[in-house]
């Protein structure tokens, strides 16, 4: 009898699951059950206010082109060719759905496994980022940087790993390399360094005066250029 009741309940609940709005009508028996563990560790619900329709849990991209099946350096996704429609439009002032003529290809860069780079500023702060589908890279070393081996996973795409670092005392070059192991495969990337305090050797094109570089920076490493936070889906053609 209990099995029959359970089976009937399962069938009913499957039907409910097809209609997401049914979730709002949890009965006490359902909500009292401890849910199975769900791997969404980066979801950060607002503890102070009820969730709204604008709050979105974090998920890593899943609909991109297939990733390479090996960790060989330089392996790339073929990606989707970008649409070419040279014109300039402005964001719509309404929230109506975009027209069908609008761009349909997200311009996200194709994923390349087992590549990386490092960036160091004049005050000594540095950061290394590495793509590694196999998990956190190990043995991350550079002649220019002291690198913390405690990798922090990129919350926008879990295939990328960040490492905090500091410039080694006495290292004055503006270019160096960083090496690592990703899934048992060696990788190597470049490190860009701003001119060291006091002016290092060979620093063409690297701005920074001694006055500026001696002050600790609140933004430890300023990102390059502008910020790409829009892709035209709502732009008016």
């Amino acid at each position: 009898m209990g099995r029959l009741a359970g089976a009937v309940l399962v069938g009913a609940l499957i039907t409910l699951a097809v209609s997401p709005t049914a979730m709002a009508q949890d009965d006490p028996a359902t909500t009292a059950v401890t849910p199975p563990p769900v791997e969404t560790p980066t979801t950060t619900p607002d503890p102070g206010t009820p969730p709204t329709g604008t709050t979105t849990p974090v998920e890593t991209p899943t609909s991109e082109s297939p990733a390479p099946t090996s960790s060989a350096p330089g392996t790339t996704d073929p990606g989707t060719p970008p649409a070419t429609k040279p014109s300039e439009t402005s964001p719509s002032s309404s929230s109506e759905p975009p027209k069908s003529s609008e761009p349909t290809t997200p311009p996200e860069d194709p994923y390349v496994d087992n590549i990386g780079a490092g960036y160091a500023v004049s005050t000594g702060e540095a950061f290394v980022v590495i793509s590694c589908l196999a998990g956190a890279p190990t043995n991350v070393v550079s002649p220019a940087l002291d690198i913390e081996q405690d990798a922090i996973q990129d919350e926008t795409d879990g295939r990328f790993w960040g490492f905090n670092a500091t410039r080694k005392a006495g290292f004055t070059d503006v270019k160096s390399t960083v090496t690592w192991t990703c899934g048992g495969v060696a990788g190597q990337g470049d490190v860009e360094l701003e001119a060291a305090p006091g002016g290092g050797a060979g620093t063409p094109g690297t701005p920074g005066t001694p006055d500026k570089v001696t002050k600790p920076k609140q933004v430890k490493i300023a990102p390059k250029g502008g910020i790409a936070t829009g892709f035209g889906g709502m732009a008016q053609a």
Partner: protein, 200 residues
Amino acid sequence: MTEKAGRGGRAFAAALLLSLVLTGCGSSGDSPAPAAAPGQTSVPVTKPFAGLKPLSVSIPKIGAESSLITVALDIHGKIATPSVKKPMQAAWYRLGPVPGDVGPAIVLGHVDGNKQPGIFYKLKDVNPGDEVFIDRSDGKKLKFVVDHKDQVPKDQFPQDAVFGNTDKPQLRLITCGGAFDHEEHSYKDNIVVYANLVQA
């Protein structure tokens, strides 16, 4: 016995329901990804930034409210942004100050993406005096008030004004704006909102 069996049935059904709903609520094609495997295009985030961080941002004036993920630099040295497929997700740049600490805390969000409005779609409508609220992982609830906003070409991005040191806790809200260049798949400008902490 019968009651116990009934409870077990409900528990199983509830677990199944939760599993089905979570799968159904994902974006198209999403599926649970417990571990990296050949051909896999995503992996679960199991080692996110664990330090003090902001958890959410809300701007009542424009009805924007989002949890916050943390971002850092991408491979090219640019700021990483939330996936374009998740345009309603805002992010905090963790290589800068935590909101509420002295310095310019950086919060960014998409103006649009995936052919939908983004979390900062209406950021251009924010004006001086408007309020911005940030909740932090240490329980602090912060209130900022907008001081001013700028619309600047991306190729003339004001690095010092946005990322330079400040003498008090400030907030920078950043998104895209201006004309859209279809060839470059990018807006020409950035909109930057500058706000000051008024209540911690």
